[in-house]
């Protein structure tokens, strides 16, 4: 049994998942703050 396959699989999943949740949270924040600013500028 190649142990490295398990190690790489675990790291790939964790690091890509962490990157994805960071990116989604950042996009949600930027999008919401930009919309709020647009509304504030309009009124």
């Amino acid at each position: 049994m190649n142990q490295w396959a398990f190690v790489i699989g675990a790291y790939a999943l964790t690091l890509s998942g962490t990157g994805l949740i960071s990116l989604l949270s950042w996009r949600a924040m930027r999008g919401a703050e930009a919309r709020a600013q647009q509304l504030a500028d309009r009124s």
Partner: protein
């Protein structure tokens, strides 16, 4: 803590803090992961699979720490009516669920070559799975209360959701003590306040990943809190515009 009850004052601190937490967190996490993969020796018994430790332990810590954060936020919402507590609770839920899932999956991947099985219904694994379902329940309740406007002004978290967050905290000491109370394939507590049973040559990158993941988690929570606060602002302004 009530000094930060004003969202404007909170945002003034949260905006720079998000980057200050995120980038050092990412750097520490990547350094720890690289050292864990390429610098530390293989374990004499488990071989290279021991390297999963450096991502498995921080994800378990964040899964449990996240729910502790939800419980504290729930207490602050229910007792002191802190206006940001509900926002914080809701912002913690998704990253908390994510790291609990990562803990379960990396544990399962680690278990296959070490124990010869992907899964065992023992105390530690089952209580961790229960924590994951608690997170899903909390997210569903928070989303439902936000849709029905029950949590308006509280970030979409109704009192029922907050009580659920508080009661669910009973699972945290159960997870912690599960390897002591019941026979388990999972090893006993290897890092306690009295020290560690893990050899120092294997242990040191764990400090990097533990602090790195924690800073990153805090940055993600701040991003999600800022998103909820901005959405609340949009909603309030739209309502004002609709009223004319």
């Amino acid at each position: 803590m009530h000094r930060f009850a004003n969202p404007a004052r909170f945002l003034k601190i949260a905006r720079p803090l998000t980057s200050w937490l995120f980038w050092p967190g990412l750097a520490l996490l990547l350094t720890g992961a690289a050292c864990g993969l390429f610098v530390t020796p293989a374990d004499y018994l488990q071989g290279d699979t021991v390297r999963i430790l450096y991502i498995h332990v921080p994800s378990a810590w964040l899964g449990m720490g996240g729910w502790t954060g939800i419980a504290i936020a729930a207490l602050m919402q229910l007792v002191w009516r802190h206006p940001l507590a509900a926002v914080a609770g809701r912002a913690i839920a998704t990253p908390g669920a994510f790291f609990t899932a990562i803990c379960l999956i990396t544990g399962s991947i680690w278990g296959r070559p070490t124990w010869g099985t992907w899964w065992e219904w023992d105390g530690r694994m089952t209580s961790m799975l229960v924590l994951f379902f608690l997170y899903l329940g909390y997210i569903a309740l928070a989303n439902a209360s936000a849709r029905h406007g029950q949590g308006q002004g509280a970030g979409g978290v109704s009192p029922v959701t907050a009580i659920f967050g508080l009661v669910g905290a009973i699972n945290i000491p159960i997870i912690n003590r599960s390897v002591v109370w019941w026979n388990s394939l999972h090893q006993g507590p290897s890092i306690t306040l009295r020290g560690s049973s893990i050899d120092a040559s294997l242990l040191w990158p764990l400090g990097f990943t533990l602090i790195g993941f924690t800073l990153l988690f805090a940055a993600i929570v701040l991003m999600r809190m800022r998103a909820i606060l901005a959405r609340n602002k949009i909603e309030a302004r739209m309502q004002r515009l609709a009223r004319g």
